[in-house]
Symmetry: C2
Subunit: 351 residues, 2 copies
């Protein structure tokens, strides 16, 4: 069963005109008489004519669709970012093809090949936490594919990038934990080669140092799958709990890791925040309903999506090759709730 659409030929035939004339009439060309235009327009309206986007794509050699690759859409940060992406894309007549890497390099490569073979005009990507080899992306970029990175950025590729001030976000969160009476603070991060991992751990380290606390490297745990596998987070938390320098607080560095840590701590019967403080990057709108309500560093995900798309469309629609790239850095927001402040110190802190 198929959906038969009306074409410019149908209009031409019934109106006794050529397809060229109809095409021109529809595009309001000056070479067509007002009467003809009127006839064509009215008839087109009547039979509900819409230009075939596929034929246009073939002619114009552009698909008017952009590809988006994120870890997973069932993740508040990414779904909010996608909302931002779609809002800008749709308003500009582009559609969005979303693919999920699920934090796997293999799937990322499959998606990359799939999207490019589907002839997208551009790509917005937050690389998977497993990715350390950017050869394919680099090749695509060199062959002229417009790319904008967001969230997880690739330094080696020169193009527009959208990120948050991860350093400051982590710095502020760590500082908050210290001021809340924690001194032995652990960090649970994504894989070490991810841009945001470096920056966030940088902020964490700086905050520790600025407060005269020596960073204990054994309290920094890396989750190679970004928390997609819960066992990985459980393992990291277990190691922390069994450590001779058992921490009194954890800084979790991404959405999935934050809830993963909370889940694990609750499972193990550890009281948060009294036995273990917890602060994490998260965009879930349920954080305040959690037990305990989570102190989070929230990212302007929707806005990041908007900015990334605006930049991508600039790249796509630019006549000449763009050489002047920008890296937009947006601000994070620290939202203090119960998970970071032990009850005994609460009054003191809130005072």
């Amino acid at each position: 069963m198929k959906f038969e659409a009306v074409t410019i030929k149908d209009i031409a035939k019934t109106l006794g005109l050529s397809t060229s004339t109809v095409s021109r009439a529809l595009r309001d060309s000056y070479e067509i008489s007002p009467e003809t235009k009127k006839t064509v327009l009215e008839y087109a309206q009547k039979i509900n004519y819409h230009p075939n986007p596929i034929a246009l794509s073939l002619k114009e050699r552009r698909s008017r669709s952009i590809g988006v690759i994120v870890a997973e859409i069932a993740n508040s940060f990414f779904s909010q970012a996608i909302n931002g992406i779609e809002s800008i894309a749709y308003n500009n007549g582009y559609n969005v093809i979303i693919a999920q890497s699920r934090e796997s390099v293999d799937r990322e490569i499959i998606n990359l090949n799939y999207l490019t073979s589907r002839s997208i005009d551009g790509l917005i990507i937050s690389v998977s936490t497993e990715t350390k080899d950017f050869a394919l992306l680099k090749e695509l970029h060199e062959r002229g594919m417009p790319i904008v990175f967001f969230d997880r950025i690739v330094d080696e590729i020169q193009t527009h990038k959208v990120t948050v001030d991860s350093y400051k976000g982590a710095y502020d969160a760590t500082t908050h934990l210290i001021r809340s009476g924690h001194t032995n603070i652990a960090a649970v991060a994504n894989s070490a080669f991810l841009s945001i991992t470096k920056e966030r751990l940088g902020g964490y380290r700086a905050a520790m140092n600025d407060n005269g606390i020596t960073v204990n490297e054994s309290l920094i745990k890396y989750c190679h799958h970004g928390g997609m596998i819960l066992a990985e987070v459980e393992e990291a938390v277990s190691q922390l709990l069994e450590s001779p320098q058992k921490p009194d607080a954890i800084l979790a560095i991404s959405d999935k890791l934050t809830t993963g840590c909370l889940r694990t701590l609750k499972k193990k019967g550890i009281n948060v925040p009294n036995e273990m403080g917890l602060v994490g990057f998260s965009n879930t709108d349920l954080t305040e309903l959690l037990d305990p309500p989570l102190t989070v560093i929230k990212q302007p995900a929707f806005e990041m999506g908007e900015v990334a798309t605006t930049l991508l469309l600039q790249l796509i629609e630019s006549k000449r090759p763009v050489t002047d790239f920008e890296t937009k850095t947006l601000a994070t927001e620290l939202i203090v709730r119960g998970s970071s402040v032990a009850s005994k110190t609460k009054s003191k802190i809130l005072a």
Copy 2:
């Protein structure tokens, strides 16, 4: 800046062949000599040739893409369903274009027009909670667009449908609330004309009746925007709390409403479950981490997406018009946690 792809012409030119020969060689036609095939295949491989999907779409009059309309992707139920949809679609060489209605009819219509003008081969849709006029969908369907409904179904349109046993889900949940000692149970629902609203309220009513409890219609609240606007849920809960027959439990009928009710109750300082029991349909994986852990009716969202897509591809790829439609009904799962059982009755229930 654009991404120049290599075409069949490039191969033909450098190899001194015609495009037809190259095309046939690539498709392993019997009329091409083994040597020519080898030459062509090797060269195509070398210069990384990929057939232009847009040209193919134009030729075959199919885009190999399907449209999906849901309320919002930042909703666990829908994002899980989309994962199911994508898994099947991608494996069959289709890509997925996702659009969000945000529970608004207007946006739904815009998306519908957008997707059809982008020449999708088929549509998977869960209608918005506001939608009561199905004229556009009906027209599309009559014009031959393959459509599969999931979750929120349209009875008046004859096609494949995928849903859960909402009646039983609500029946079981209500029964559970009654067995947990609640007698005055309210329901917070989507708009009344939605299929799932009818079924779920049907299950709720039946469970009440079967337990000898008369349903108090004033304790059934409808949220026209499906909880997209929190104020709407707050209003509903407020009315319930101020009601002369103030309920001792609430059954929330969809994801957004469930968390909306919890949010409102906590905001008002109502203890859940001791002052007010709460059970709701929800697919969030954070429900067990909430305060209190939520008792939920969980839907097999991923599987629903898979089934819906399988059915849609059948419709799309069927040679002759399909007249034999199925409605697949999957089972829900009741997961009992703390929000439904008051502490005083807990020991009795769990015994």
